[in-house]
Structures are given as structure tokens and as C-alpha cells.
């Protein structure tokens, strides 16, 4: 009988096109050769490896699913595979690309004016302009309809006041896509870093996503020209459609993190001999490892299906919620269990399990907490809004 690839028992690889596989392998090589040698130290020092940005851009990873403006125009599955491979390295790396691509370049592409697209997108694809996305506010991220940040019209300009919290890339960003209440409903503004009254403060002492920058943004009477307002969307559907893009990618990312953990645990348990046999020859280790393979396999199939639905233009936000909930939970549980299988070694950065487990504590919270996604599915099933 032929033997199966332990990391792809269902031969999901065969569901990918040659190009999709090549894209995955190209990103995988970058992660293995360029990112992973840096990441544990960056995590330890709580430092984002900004020196990788030019190479990330050069590979074509920024705004990769957008058409035109220097972007690669890849399909949804390819974007997913990029997220998967980056997060096999570190969730922080994937967060950087998700925010730049789905939360900053996407809204400019979808809702921006032609001048805004031409001004910002090619520079962002080249990694010369970095963006951040300000939706969450200090008083409660799960309820964005209760937004306090306000933009008031003043002649041809807008005056922005308020604060945003937990903003990825905040302190390295050249522009912030800021969502604010107006008399016309929620609107998006491109705030440039040198605008008077705008300030980003880095959040320190994080125990998760340490190789990623997270900031608070403050707006104190910031004057924003109307030319920096995204003209083609009003209401919460603006930011929510960005989140739907990013969350789709986030369903793929944790597959990478979980795969890295499983591979490491398989190697470790195969080599570590206790009581005269490898740990992997014990029933309890096998049950754990088998269960991980089962959960990774089903997560992969969910994301693969989502990718095809997205390319067919049929993706429903509730479908994304189901996969975001399932896949992040799957990876978080697997990372914790792998940490345990590694014994004492598992608490160090020499192995990746604890780093992934800690990172995934953020991934399960951001872009809609697990509870929020469960409530989305509950509403889909019952018709009752239980938020």
C-alpha cells in the first residue's frame, strides 16, 4: 500500500492548480529561508522584522489578490495559501500582510477614488507605504456600531476626533484607514502620519503577537482633506467588507500554524525515547497526533471550499465566520497540545509550539472573537439576533 503524506492525509494538494502549488511553495521557501531564522528572536525581543518588508513586497505578497496598480491579481485560494505559509512562520508576519492587503489596500481599491488608487496602491504594493486599519475603539471592539470617533465637516475638510485601540502596524504605518461616524453614517478616511493632531502609541508588554506591532491611535482635531475620504461607501458595510476579506485569509493562516506544530511534535515524539520506546509509539500520543491530523484536514477542506466560493462570487459572511471560528480554535488547541507533547522543551522559543499558541490567543480575539462568530452562526440558524 502507498504511504500518505502525514501532513496531507486527504491529498488536498491535488485540489490545487499547478500555479496555486507554485505560489505556496514560493512563499514557503521565503518563510523557511528568510523569515524563520529571524522570528524566534523577534518574538523574544518583541520586535517586528521590518527588514523583511522589501522582500515580502518583491515576492508580490502585498495586495496580491487585487487587479492592476502593481498588484498580482491572484485568485482567492492563492491568497489563502500565502496566509497559510506566512502563518506557518508566525501569525505576526501573516497579520502584517493581512492588514496591508485586505484591510488597507482593499478598501482603497474597492471604495477609493481613481486619484487615491493611483497615489497609494502602487506604493503600498511595493512596500514603500505601510497602512494600518483603525476600526476597534477602547470601549469595545465587538460592537463597532457604537463608534465614538467622529468626523465633522469643516469647509472642504473634515475634523477628526477620537481614539482607536489594538491597531496592527500602527507605529510603522504611513497611512491609517480610519473609520469614523459622520452625519451621513460611518465613513473611511485616509489619515497620513504627519497630519497635525494624529498620534500612534505602541502597546507594550504583550504576551501574544510579539513579532507584530500593535498600537493605539489618537485623533485630536485632525484636519483631513475631503480628497482623503473614501468616496464610494457609507455605513458599517465599508469596514465589515474589509473584515470579510481579511477573515477569509485568517481561516487559512492557522492551518499553517497548526501544521508547523504538528510537524514539530511528530518529529519530537518520534525521536524522544521514554520507557524504552519513542513517545510516538504510545497510545496516548498517537490519539493526540491523530486527532490533530483530523482537525487540520477538516480545516483545510473548509478553507479550500471558501476559496472556490469566493472566486465564484458566492461567498457569504456567515460561511467565513464558521471557518474563522473552527480553524482558529483548531489551531489554538493543537498548539497547546503540542506544547505539552514537547515537555519542558515546549516552553522555549527553540520550538515553535508555545509561540504559535500565544500568537493564536490574539488571532482568536481579533477580526471578531470566537463568541462573535458563534453568534453569527446562531443568528443564521435561528433568525434571532442574540448579540
Amino acid at each position: 500500500m502507498r504511504s500518505l503524506d502525514p501532513l496531507d492525509l486527504y491529498e488536498i494538494d491535488d485540489l490545487l492548480s499547478d500555479e496555486e502549488r507554485m505560489i505556496r511553495d514560493a512563499v514557503a521557501r521565503f518563510v523557511d529561508e528568510k523569515a524563520l531564522p529571524l522570528i524566534p528572536k523577534c518574538f523574544d525581543e518583541a520586535r517586528f522584522p521590518a527588514e523583511l518588508i522589501p522582500e515580502i513586497a518583491d515576492l508580490g505578497l502585498l495586495g496580491s489578490s487585487l487587479e492592476g496598480y502593481g498588484c498580482a491579481g491572484l485568485n482567492a485560494t492563492s491568497y489563502g495559501l500565502i496566509c497559510q505559509e506566512l502563518e506557518r512562520g508566525d501569525s505576526g508576519l501573516r497579520s502584517f500582510v493581512s492588514v496591508q492587503s485586505s484591510l488597507c489596500m482593499y478598501p482603497i481599491h474597492a471604495f477609493g477614488s481613481e486619484e487615491q488608487k493611483e497615489r497609494w496602491l502602487p506604493e503600498m504594493a511595493a512596500g514603500r507605504v505601510i497602512g494600518c486599519f483603525g476600526l476597534t475603539e477602547p470601549h469595545g471592539g465587538s460592537d463597532p456600531s457604537n463608534m465614538k470617533t467622529r468626523a465633522r465637516k469643516d469647509g472642504d475638510d473634515w475634523i477628526l476626533n477620537g481614539a482607536k485601540m489594538w491597531i496592527t502596524n500602527g507605529n510603522i504605518a504611513d497611512i491609517a484607514i480610519v473609520w469614523a461616524q459622520t452625519d451621513d453614517g460611518v465613513q473611511g478616511f485616509i489619515v497620513e502620519k504627519d497630519f497635525d493632531g494624529y498620534e500612534a502609541r505602541e502597546i507594550h508588554a504583550k504576551m501574544s503577537l510579539r513579532a507584530s506591532i500593535t498600537s493605539e491611535l489618537y485623533f485630536d482635531n485632525v484636519r483631513v482633506p475631503d480628497a482623503n475620504r473614501l468616496p464610494n461607501v457609507k455605513g458599517l458595510k465599508g469596514p465589515l467588507s474589509c473584515l470579510n476579506q481579511a477573515r477569509y485569509g485568517i481561516t487559512w493562516g492557522p492551518i499553517g500554524a497548526a501544521t508547523a506544530c504538528l510537524k514539530e511534535a511528530l518529529d519530537y515524539c518520534g525521536e524522544r525515547e521514554l520507557f524504552g520506546r519513542p513517545v510516538s509509539a504510545t497510545q496516548s500520543a498517537q490519539v493526540k497526533l491523530a486527532d490533530m491530523a483530523r482537525r487540520i484536514t477538516s480545516a483545510k477542506l473548509l478553507s479550500w471550499r471558501l476559496g472556490r466560493l469566493k472566486d465564484e462570487g458566492k461567498l457569504h459572511p456567515s460561511q467565513v465566520s464558521l471557518a474563522k471560528w473552527n480553524n482558529v480554535r483548531m489551531a489554538l488547541d493543537i498548539a497547546r497540545e503540542c506544547r505539552d507533547l514537547l515537555g519542558g522543551s515546549g516552553i522555549t522559543l527553540e520550538y515553535s509550539a508555545i509561540r504559535h499558541a500565544l500568537n493564536l490567543e490574539s488571532v482568536i480575539t481579533y477580526e471578531g472573537t470566537e463568541t462573535v462568530h458563534q453568534l453569527v452562526i446562531g443568528r443564521e440558524l435561528t433568525g434571532h439576533n442574540a448579540f
Binding site: 504511504s3 500555479e19 521565503f30 508580490g60 500565502i82
Partner: protein, 248 residues
């Protein structure tokens, strides 16, 4: 000038190779396959030569079933201009490969045929040398530096005693060693462009290649497991251990 680069599909160098349970070969089902790393280095060098304006076209060629198209597409995504698949099933021995490449040489008339010094699957290290003999042209193998001028290639070769520099007249066969260069990363937009580059399929029969049958693989077995190490307490104990093993 054209450069013909040969790409062999092999088990990826990161994969821990497993022998099939019946000893008939090496497991390739569900195993990641890649371009032979030395061939990738050869292609990188050819692309750099072209980018310096010293060649007009880089053609990649591979022998095998339709699965080798994956490696050819990767070669196109790295920057090759077009690809040739010579379809053949089963084991292709070095002499068969050399005869096949000779036919491609007659068809394409390249100034350089660039191969890897060996493929990491069977480690034969023969195809380039055989091709040079069949073609009756010079060869510069184990290249770690290549410079072209006035219809000649100056090649630093990695030999046991260090580096040897030789000059060969073109057309010639070159084979790459590990330190020649570091192959580039494939960029995602190039992968999409590679889809539209020409890939021609020929067969051994089309080319009139006679298969060589000189080598028969009798059986495969994994290398013996390494025994565990031993920690010694003192230098004296180390010396006596080494003596008892006849190593001192």
C-alpha cells in the same frame, strides 16, 4: 546565443527519503518533488548571463511524464523564455538523457548547455560529461564561477585540491556546482506570466532517441541506523575508547 538548461524532477532536498517497503525504489507518492537543486543553480546562472546581455534566450528542458511540467513551469516562472518536455516513462538513465539532450542541441543549436553537476536522487554525475562526448564539444564541469568573452567561457571549477580555472570554446557543456550562485525567489506575478509562456512537448520516439539499458537497479535499502553516542568521563577514558576501537 541560446542557453539550454536541463531540469530534473527529484524528491525535494528537505524530504526525508523513504525506501519503498518492497525495496523496489524510493517512495515518491505524496512526496514533495522539486527541481534538482544543481539544475536550479544552472538555470539561475543562465538567467544572469541573459540579464547581462550575453545571451538572448534561455530554454529549459526536462525528460519525463507530464508531472515534469510542474518543474518546467517553475523554470519559466524563474525567468526562462520557453520550455521543452521530452515525454518518457520509467527510469531515464544518464546515457538516455545525454542522447536526448544531444537531439535538442541539434534542434536548438545553443551556445551553452547548462546542467547540474549531478541530480540529488541517483547522484550519477554523468549526463553532462556524456553529452559533451556525444556532441564532441568541450566541457567545464563543477563550475563555481563562469565568465563569458569572445566566444569562450572562463570557468572556475571546484576540484579536490581547490579551484581550477579553465577556458573552453563555445559551444560547450557546463555543469554547476553548489557555490556558483544562490537561485532567486520566484515572484508571484511571474508564476502567473509563466502560464502563458510556450511549453513544447516531444517524445523520445519523435526525437529518435535509442534508450540506453546499461544499468539495472537490483534493490534499494535505507542506510544503516546510526548507533547511539557515548559520553565519556575523562580524557583518559576517551583515549582508551578510541584505542580500543583501533582509531588511535
Amino acid at each position: 546565443m541560446k542557453i539550454l538548461v536541463t531540469l530534473k524532477r527529484v524528491v525535494d532536498y528537505n524530504v526525508r527519503v523513504r525506501v519503498k517497503s518492497d525495496g523496489s525504489g524510493v517512495e515518491t507518492d505524496g512526496v514533495k518533488m522539486s527541481i534538482n537543486p544543481f539544475d536550479e543553480i544552472a538555470l539561475e546562472e543562465a538567467l544572469r548571463i541573459k540579464e547581462r546581455g550575453e545571451a538572448e534566450e534561455v530554454i529549459v528542458a526536462s525528460i519525463g511524464g507530464d508531472e515534469v511540467q510542474q518543474q518546467l513551469r517553475t523554470g519559466l516562472a524563474m525567468g526562462a523564455d520557453r520550455a521543452i518536455q521530452v515525454s518518457a516513462d520509467g527510469d531515464v538513465q544518464p546515457l538516455t538523457a545525454a542522447r536526448t539532450f544531444l537531439k535538442l542541441v541539434e534542434k536548438e543549436e545553443p551556445g551553452i548547455v547548462f546542467l547540474g553537476k549531478q541530480a540529488i536522487d541517483d547522484d550519477a554525475n554523468q549526463t553532462g560529461q556524456m553529452l559533451a562526448a556525444l556532441w564532441d564539444r568541450p566541457q567545464a564541469t563543477f563550475a563555481s564561477k563562469v565568465e563569458l568573452a569572445d566566444g569562450k567561457a572562463t570557468v572556475a571549477r571546484e576540484v579536490d585540491s581547490g579551484l581550477e580555472t579553465i577556458e573552453v570554446d563555445l559551444p560547450a557543456v557546463l555543469t554547476s556546482d553548489l557555490r556558483l550562485n544562490e537561485p532567486r525567489f520566484v515572484k508571484l506575478p511571474e508564476i502567473m506570466k509563466a502560464k502563458r509562456k510556450p511549453l513544447e512537448t516531444l517524445s523520445l520516439e519523435d526525437l529518435g532517441v535509442e534508450r540506453a539499458g546499461g544499468i539495472e537497479a537490483v534493490s534499494y535499502e535505507p542506510p544503516p541506523q546510526r548507533g547511539g553516542g557515548k559520553v565519556v568521563e575523562s580524557v583518559d577514558e576517551l583515549v582508551s575508547e578510541l584505542k580500543s576501537k583501533g582509531l588511535l
